[in-house]
Each structure stands twice: as structure tokens, then as C-alpha cells.
């Protein structure tokens, strides 16, 4: 459907939009962010500074951004999709040339006002662009090789730029998030089978190239994979993170040590305890009950998004909703897998909980898009 087909009369307008906001989703987001504040307060040793207070401010700003995005009709966002994608590609190129090197990777671009992580932004704009692309595409041609190739190009271009930064985790997330939109749009499953096979081939190539002059990944990335496969091989070196994180998690037990009673995360055994490894603090202090509760909250967010997508007859809106929801899912699933030793250590934060401004803003804007799709969905009388 093109926006010309929207039955404008059935769409709420003005302040009435407030009643059509998916308030359950907003409540869930606040709950998850609230858990984040609690954890940041705890890892700081019971202090608002340095993490909890800025995080709360950012979340409040993020809520404002979300509502602002939500109240703008979704067709505006669809028309902006191409432009937004183009801008994020430019920013990625900008990082390539002007980016600052932090933690051994070029990821940030300093815009003066904020330090932006273009790869974060790209995760959302890529989903938007693909959703708009398949909305525009003749449904009969969705599985046509030429059009699939175009979609593939849209995914691989930013992924390649991100990989050069180098940020393997985000590149993988981009590819997976894009593939989800393709899958949801109805691209024939044989393509996925073929790409899956090629992916396995690539993994084989990555390992085969190790040590050769055309080595595909950086040495530290290989080491991370090694330690993922066998964390005990280097307990005080690279395997340290995984081992320590599992100890912190496991020592939490059924009900945890209690709020602010965690020893492992508090005693600095864990690196980046306020960002990528914050889940271990939660799991140590609130145990299995706390961990499973956060997982449940996350899954409820996913369920509300899926429900919203199912209800939405607009293709762009539905594809974007499921695309963003799945990207969100990939974030927390990957992060939790990582801290529980199911995935290699890749720099993926726990969405809405980990300390960090850039990711929080982008996520809240993305949920604004989902809300916008929810509010402005075509309704039959």
C-alpha cells in the first residue's frame, strides 16, 4: 500500500493519537530501563554517579524522542527511509576517514554536540530502507533474483563498512537484521539455504585464512573466537571475561546475593561491568529469578511488537516493526549468550540496560517508529 491508499479518516489525528499509543509497550520499556538504572546504581557501589544519573537523563530524553517520532505519521518515515539510509552510509564513510579510534576500533564520529556511533544508527535505517524497498517492490517479484540481489547489496554495503572499522559484532547484527526483513518480506527460503551454505563457507574461509597474508579478521578477533571455543585455555588472558562472567552469574544462584551484595561484579573481576557485562550484576544480585524476569520482560516487548506487526496490514509498517523487533531481540539474545558463554565475546550491549547514550537514543527512536506504525496503522471500521 502506498500512503495514498491510507484511509486517512481511520487514522487518529492530533492529540487523539495519545490514546492509540501502545502504552503496554511503553510500560515494558520503562520497566526494563528501570532495571538498568538499578543495576548501574549498584555497580557504582550504591551511587547515582557516574552512571545511573546520566542514564536516567538519557532515557527521559529518549522517551521524548520516541513520542516525537511516534506522533509523526509512518508514511513520512517510509518516504524518509531512503534518505536516512543514505545519511547513515555517509556517516559510516565519515567514520572511515575522520573517526576516532576508541578501544582499538574506529567506531565513533564526533559531531561536536554528540559523539555518534553510526553503526548503531545504521541498524535501524537499514531495516527501514529494506522495509520501504519491499513495500515498493511488486509482491510477485519479491523472490526475483535481480531484486533479491539489490536487497543483498543494501545489506552488504553498510556491513562491509562496519567490518572495516573493525566491528565484527555489529556487522553480523546488520546482516542478520537485514536477512530477517528479507525473510519476513517473503523471499523464497531457498535463498536463505544458499546463503546459509555460503556463510558456512565464509566461516571456513575465515579460519583457513588465519596466519596467511590475506587474513580476513584481526588477530584479536581470532583470539576471541578461540577463547569462546575453549575459555579455560587462557583463564587469565582472553578467556578471563567469559570465565569471570560465568562465575559471577553462577554464584548468584536461585535468588541471588541481594541488591548491592554482589561480590564478583562489584569487585572489578569483570571488565565493562557497566556496559556489556551488566547482565552478570543482575544475575549475581537477583539470581535466576532476576535474570529470567528480565528475559521475560524482553520477550514481552518482542511479543507486543510481533502482535502489532501481525495486526498491521501495511507492508512497510509490518516489515519495519518485525525488523526492528528482531534487531532488538538479536541485541539482548547475543549479549546474554555472550555472558552465559554461549557466544564469543562481541561488543554488544544489553539494550536499554547497559550504560551508553548512542545506543539508547537510537533504540528509543526505533521504538518511536514502531509506535508510529502502531498508531497510524490502517484500521477497518
Amino acid at each position: 500500500m502506498s500512503y495514498l491508499e491510507y484511509q486517512v479518516k481511520t487514522v487518529p489525528s492530533g492529540l487523539r493519537k495519545v490514546f492509540y499509543v501502545n502504552w503496554a509497550l511503553v510500560a515494558l520499556l520503562c520497566a526494563v530501563a528501570g532495571i538498568g538504572f538499578l543495576m548501574l546504581y549498584s555497580v557504582a557501589g550504591g551511587a547515582m554517579e557516574p552512571w545511573a544519573a546520566p542514564q536516567i537523563k538519557r532515557f527521559l530524553v529518549g522517551l521524548g524522542v520516541m513520542f516525537a517520532v511516534a506522533f509523526i505519521p509512518v508514511w513520512f518515515w517510509r518516504n524518509m527511509a531512503g534518505l536516512a539510509f543514505g545519511i547513515s552510509l555517509l556517516l559510516l564513510l565519515g567514520v572511515e576517514f575522520f573517526g576516532e579510534v576508541g578501544m582499538g576500533a574506529q567506531r565513533w564520529i564526533d559531531l561536536g554536540v554528540i559523539r555518534l556511533q553510526p553503526s548503531e544508527l545504521t541498524k535501524i535505517t537499514l531495516v527501514m530502507a529494506l522495509a520501504a524497498y519491499f513495500d515498493w517492490l511488486d509482491p510477485r517479484r519479491v523472490s526475483h533474483p535481480l531484486y533479491v540481489l539489490v536487497a543483498l547489496g543494501l545489506i552488504l554495503l553498510p556491513a562491509a563498512l562496519v567490518l572495516r572499522q573493525p566491528d565484527l559484532g555489529t556487522a553480523l547484527l546488520l546482516v542478520l537484521g537485514g536477512a530477517v526483513v528479507l525473510f519476513a518480506a517473503g523471499v523464497h527460503w531457498l535463498y536463505f539455504a544458499v546463503v546459509g551454505a555460503m556463510g558456512s563457507g565464509l566461516v571456513a574461509a575465515v579460519f583457513a585464512s588465519r596466519g596467511s597474508p590475506w587474513q580476513l579478521l584481526k588477530d584479536y578477533q581470532y583470539r576471541r573466537i578461540d577463547t569462546f571455543l575453549d575459555p579455560s585455555s587462557d583463564p587469565l588472558g582472553a578467556g578471563y571475561h567469559i570465565t569471570q562472567s560465568k562465575i559471577a552469574l553462577g554464584s548468584g544462584g536461585w535468588s541471588g546475593r541481594g541488591f548491592m551484595q554482589g561480590t564478583q561484579s562489584r569487585l572489578n573481576f569483570l571488565p565493562e561491568k557497566h556496559t556489556d557485562f551488566i547482565f552478570t550484576t543482575l544475575a549475581e544480585e537477583f539470581g535466576f529469578i532476576g535474570g529470567i524476569s528480565l528475559l521475560a520482560l524482553y520477550m514481552l516487548i518482542i511479543l507486543f511488537c510481533v502482535a502489532s506487526a501481525l495486526k498491521n496490514p501495511d507492508r512497510f509498517a509490518a516489515l519495519m516493526t518485525i525488523g526492528i523487533a528482531t534487531t532488538f531481540f538479536l541485541f539482548f539474545a547475543l549479549n546474554m549468550s555472550m555472558v552465559m558463554g554461549l557466544a564469543p565475546v562481541v561488543g554488544v550491549p544489553l539494550p536499554l540496560v547497559s550504560y551508553g547514550g548512542s545506543a539508547m537514543m537510537v533504540l528509543m527512536a526505533a521504538f518511536g517508529l514502531i509506535q508510529s506504525a502502531h498508531i497510524h496503522r490502517p484500521r477497518s471500521r
Partner: protein
């Protein structure tokens, strides 16, 4: 673009189907995550809880207090001094340069200290306290404490550090402590974990090093909670360690001080030994150095001054120095000949000033010769030709055996660094080590303590003590460990006929007390303290025929390092020997002029236990002796405190 309605609806249905599939997949993966969480947190919780406990608790060692060292009367020789220092914690101080500058305004800091602190700060983690200034006065520390608000990250601390109150006097005996080096660790197979404590100090030389195991004590430990980077969160509990054992030496600090002072201007060594039990009452090597400088970290110029000094202050000449004994060896040759029965005390030898053996001429020190000499005169006047003659009769192997019975050519087991074995050559030794047969000329050289023979001042003292006592006394330096008396070694009668030993002692008595004796000038006149000695002058160069022809062997005309070593050994009192003394003055010239006067002063100080009475000196030397003794730079000693014997 407008698509046909039918296609669009079909497409939407497909999207819904696929969305459901995606949602289902996500739910399934969430299920896996939940199961994993359950596995880690419920099923394996106990195991991880245990690992977490180990993570959290760290065992730290508490350095033990080092044992104290006392002299034989309980005077302190090595103690642990409270030491005020200021430490800097980088993360609290903020700007390190500024903090150092602020400290420098309050406390005197050398640029060396600042540089050292800066390097250490850069090397350590930000929370590790780094010592900026050490050994501060109480006033300095008070200044820092008062200004604490203006000095973030700077705190005064109190610790223990080694102090040697007798300074230079015991540098060679006790040695000093220093921080553990990698080299120290590499020497040990299973290093005591306490050695890993930063700034822990262990004995580096002397008694401190050799008695390290007793002095160190046992480390205590405390269990502390730490984080992954080692920052201490809190202490959980502690077990106190065991302080190191206190040592009491046989040395008398007063005598030792006197000996060091008496030899201060020379490069010399002296040993005083109790002839009855082998206790070393004094064992001094001059010049000396201040061991406290080494504990504090000696500066490069100071160290260079020590290593470049030709008098070698760092060497402990009493046990490390190996010198040709010269004529002090003649008692050995004489005793060997008497024991072998190849000469009787009355047999005379004609000394024309030289003897010819195998076409080579061996000179007596007295160019005009001694004429007809028997045993007693030969010792008294130190006639070389007499000993050339009897040595040829007895042979080197029997001389060497006698020497070994008297403690020469053997390493005496003392807790001091690099105790030398000396060298007592015989035919077998020369065959093995020089690959040549022993020739008669070697015997002649050895008979007067030249040639291959090398002895340390300690060995000479042992020899003298054994001659005096007739017993195989062994030197002892450690009187007791933690109040437990260390056994006196040796003491078995020597395998020599007592009348032969008495003849030797009689000869030594003549050296010191007969008008023609070489040591007559340095005699003791108190009736109950009469001394018996033997002079020695050992060449460190060969005298060429040309030199001999020109008659140039006045020592004063030679550069210092080519002059003869002066030696003197003695025991006293002659009737009932109590002490044996050996003195070696490196390149001092003649034994009778350079070594004997020192030995007499030392012997008198040891015999009287206080400043020697002038009445003990020959009347014409009293004024000179008084001047000399009064000029000695003696230390005021703390009074002996027998109560601390068993500290």
C-alpha cells in the same frame, strides 16, 4: 506504486506467516537462554559460588620481623628501626608532578629521590602506594601530617628498616640487607613466598646472608578481600608470623671498634681468637664501609668511591684475603721437622746469608747471614737459611700435613661471605694443578711461607691459637641463636708431641722478648701478659738479580702495591694463653715495624678488656703509645647489657 489488490493481500498474509515464524524462533531461542540460565544459576550454582569465594579472597603475607644481632656482651649490632616515610597513591594524588612538587616544598627531596619515585609511580598500578621519601625525621613527618589537607594522595607511614648502630665496625662481619633481586631468587629452588613481598629485604653478605634462614623468621598471613586488579577491599582475618631468631656473636664490639680504629689508615686485617674455645673476639678488615648506606640504597658516586679505592674497602680481608704467610709460616716448618725427628732443637745450621740448591741461590733476609743458628735463634731472628735446610730434610708433604693440622689450607666454616681455603701446596697438588713435578726450590720457598703458600688472616689466627693451646680449636662466630648456645667445635689435642709444641712456643717467646728477636720492639712488659709472636714479611714481587746487585729493596722506594705485606701473629699470655692474634698489613713493609705494633695494641686491648694500660708498654715507648691511643677515633659504646644476651 500501486499493486493489484490480490497480490498485496497475498503478500500481507505471507508477511504475517513469516512474522509468526520469526516470533516463534525468537521464543524458542529465549527458551534456550532460559535453560542455560537455569543450568548455570541453579544446577551449577554451588560450584560457581565456590569459585567466586576463591576469587574474592586473597591471602597476603605479613613480613616477619627480622632477628636482632648482638655482640658477646649484649650490645646491639643490628636492629630494626622504626622508619618514617611518605607514600604517594597516584589515583588519589591526581597530578603526580604537582603532588611531588608540593611534597618537595615541605620535605627535603633530592632530585634522585624524585626521579626514582616518578619511575616507580609510572610502573605501578594507580592504587599502589609508592614510597616518595624514606627515613624522614619525626619533624618532617609531622609537617606532612599537618599539611595533609593540602596534600591529597600523600600519607606518612611507619615501617621497620634495618639499622647497624656500629656502622663501619661490623660491615664485614654482619654484612647488610637489601631488596630481593632476581639473581637471589634464581639461586633458590623453592623460594620462600615471603620473598615476593615488595621491598622485602634479605641478607646480602656476611652473617645477614649466611644466617638468613634463622634471621628471617616465618611470615604470617592475612586473608583479605580483593578485586580483580588486586585492590584491597578489607581484611578478613590474620595469623601472625614468627619473628626471626636473635643472634649473639662471639665478637666483642668494644674490641672490634678498637681494631677498626687502630687499622683505620691501613689496608689491613686482624683477627683475635680465644685460644681456649675458638671464639672470634674480633675480626676486623680495614678500611671498612657503612652498611647502612647499602640498606638505604647507596648512591652511584658513593659506590664508585668504594669500588675504585685501591685499599678495597668492600673486601673482607680477614677471611677472603689470601696472602703468602712469609716467616709466620716458619713455626709450621719447624714443627714438621721436629715431629719428623730430622732435626733436634740443638742442631745448628751455618747461615752465610744464602744457600745454594740445584744451582740456584736462595737468600736469607739478612744479607750478611746469621752465622751458626739453632732452632730457637732461627725463629727469634727469622733466619731463612735454617729453614731452607730443615725443609729439605723433612720434605714438603710432611710440612703440608703439619700445616693442615694447624688449620692452614682448609676452609673454616664461618657464616661469612667468600671464606677462602687458602693454599697449602704439596707434590700431589702441583702435579694436578700445575701439571709439573715438585722441585726442591718450591720446598725452599714454601718453608719460609713464600711461593705457592697462601693463608688468610683467619687461618693464621687459627694456627697461632692451635700452637698456643695444643688443641685443634675451630673458629666460632655465632655464640647463640635465640639464646641457644651453638656448640664449640674442635678442641681435640693436636697429634704433636707437647714438648715439640713447647719448643715452638719458646721460639715465639724469644721473638718478642729477646733483645735480638725481630718482634722485640713490640713486646709487652707486664709480667702476667707476656706475649709470644712471630713476624712475617712476604714478598709480592720477585727480586731480580739486578735489583739485588744494586741493593734496591727499600720498601719505601717502591710504589705501594709492590711493597711487601707485613704480618704478625702472636698469642698471650705466654704462660697461660688466652688469645691469639693475627695481623696482616697489605703492602705495609716489614712485619716487625708495620704489623707487630698493631698486633700488640690489639692484644693488650683484648687481654685487658679496656684501653691498654701504659704500664704494659716498654717505658721508652709509653709516651708514644699514649699519643697513639688517645688519637684513636673510638666510638662511645652503649654499656654492655647482659640482660639482652638472650633477647
Amino acid at each position: 506504486m500501486k499493486h493489484p489488490q490480490r497480490d498485496t493481500e497475498q503478500s500481507t498474509r505471507k508477511i504475517s506467516r513469516r512474522t509468526l515464524v520469526l516470533g516463534g524462533a525468537q521464543l524458542a531461542f529465549a527458551g534456550i537462554l532460559a535453560l542455560r540460565m537455569r543450568h548455570l544459576q541453579v544446577e551449577q550454582a554451588d560450584q560457581y559460588r565456590l569459585m567466586a569465594e576463591e576469587n574474592r579472597i586473597n591471602i597476603r603475607l605479613i613480613p616477619p620481623t627480622r632477628g636482632l644481632i648482638f655482640d658477646n656482651q649484649g650490645r646491639s649490632l643490628a636492629e630494626n628501626e622504626q622508619n618514617y616515610r611518605i607514600v604517594l597513591v597516584r589515583e588519589d594524588a591526581g597530578n603526580v608532578e604537582e603532588a611531588l612538587a608540593r611534597v618537595a616544598r615541605i620535605v627535603p627531596l633530592t632530585s634522585d629521590e624524585v626521579e626514582r619515585a616518578r619511575k616507580e609511580i609510572a610502573r605501578r598500578s594507580p592504587f599502589v602506594p609508592v614510597t616518595v621519601a624514606d627515613r624522614l625525621t619525626w619533624a618532617d613527618v609531622a609537617h606532612v601530617a599537618v599539611n595533609a589537607p593540602a596534600l591529597p594522595g600523600i600519607t606518612p607511614e611507619v615501617g621497620l628498616s634495618r639499622l647497624y648502630p656500629m656502622g663501619e665496625d661490623f660491615a664485614h662481619v654482619i654484612g647488610y640487607v637489601g631488596p630481593v633481586s632476581d639473581y637471589d631468587l634464581s639461586k633458590l629452588e623453592t623460594p620462600d613466598p615471603v620473598l615476593q613481598i615488595p621491598r622485602f629485604q634479605i641478607g646480602k653478605t656476611g652473617v645477614e646472608a649466611k644466617m638468613e634462614d634463622d634471621l628471617r623468621g616465618k611470615a604470617g598471613n592475612k586473608r583479605i578481600e580483593v578485586n580483580a586488579v588486586g585492590r584491597v577491599i578489607r581484611e578478613i582475618d590474620r595469623t601472625e608470623g614468627k619473628a626471626g631468631a636473635s643472634l649473639q656473636l662471639t665478637v666483642d664490639a668494644g674490641l672490634q671498634n678498637f681494631m677498626q680504629a687502630r687499622m683505620a689508615k691501613e689496608s689491613a686485617a686482624a683477627v683475635v681468637m680465644d685460644t681456649r674455645n675458638g671464639d672470634l673476639l674480633g675480626i676486623a678488615s680495614a678500611p671498612s664501609y657503612d652498611p647502612n648506606k647499602f640498606v638505604r640504597g647507596i648512591s652511584v658516586p658513593d659506590y664508585r668511591a668504594l669500588t675504585e679505592n685501591p685499599y678495597r674497602p668492600l673486601a673482607n680481608k680477614t677471611v677472603q684475603g689470601a696472602y703468602p704467610p712469609g716467616s709466620t709460616f716458619k713455626m709450621v716448618t719447624a714443627l714438621a721437622a721436629l715431629e719428623a725427628g730430622v732435626v733436634s732443637p740443638e742442631d745448628t745450621v751455618w747461615c752465610p746469608g744464602y744457600t745454594e740448591v740445584g744451582g740456584r741461590r736462595f737468600h736469607c733476609w739478612r744479607r750478611g747471614g746469621h752465622g751458626s743458628v739453632a732452632l730457637n735463634q732461627s725463629l727469634e731472628q727469622s733466619c731463612d737459611v735454617y729453614f731452607y735446610e730443615i725443609a729439605q730434610r723433612v720434605g714438603i708433604d710432611r710440612i703440608a700435613e703439619t700445616a693442615r693440622h694447624l688449620g692452614l689450607g682448609a676452609r673454616h666454616d664461618l657464616p661469612m661471605s667468600a671464606v677462602t681455603e687458602g693454599l697449602m701446596p704439596d707434590t700431589a697438588w702441583k702435579r694436578e694443578n700445575r701439571g709439573a713435578e715438585w722441585v726442591i726450590g718450591d720446598t725452599l720457598n714454601a718453608s719460609i711461607g713464600q711461593g705457592f703458600v697462601l693463608t688468610s688472616p683467619l687461618q693464621l689466627a687459627v694456627m697461632t691459637a692451635r700452637l698456643a693451646s695444643g688443641q685443634a680449636v675451630l673458629p666460632r662466630l655465632i655464640k647463640s641463636v635465640n639464646g641457644l648456645e651453638t656448640p664449640v667445635g674442635g678442641g681435640a689435642p693436636l697429634p704433636f708431641a707437647p714438648h715439640n709444641l713447647a719448643r715452638i712456643r719458646k721460639g715465639m717467646y724469644s721473638v718478642s722478648n729477646h733483645r735480638r728477636g725481630t718482634g722485640y720492639r713490640s713486646r709487652i712488659v707486664s709480667e702476667d701478659m707476656l706475649m709470644a709472636g712471630k713476624t712475617g714479611t712476604s714478598q709480592v714481587r720477585n727480586i731480580t738479580a739486578a735489583e739485588r746487585a744494586r741493593g734496591v729493596f727499600r720498601n719505601e722506594d717502591l710504589p705501594w702495591h709492590r711493597r711487601d705485606h707485613a704480618l704478625f701473629v702472636c698469642f698471650a699470655p705466654y704462660d697461660a694463653p688466652r688469645i691469639a692474634v693475627s695481623v696482616v698489613v697489605e703492602h705495609g713493609g716489614g712485619g716487625s715495624t708495620a704489623a707487630a705494633p698493631i698486633a700488640r695494641d690489639i692484644a693488650l686491648r683484648a687481654l685487658y678488656g679496656e684501653m691498654p694500660p701504659l704500664a704494659a708498654y716498654p717505658s721508652n715507648q709509653r709516651w708514644e703509645a699514649e699519643q697513639r691511643l688517645n688519637a684513636l677515633p673510638l666510638r662511645t659504646l652503649q654499656p654492655p647489657s647482659p640482660g639482652r644476651n638472650r633477647a
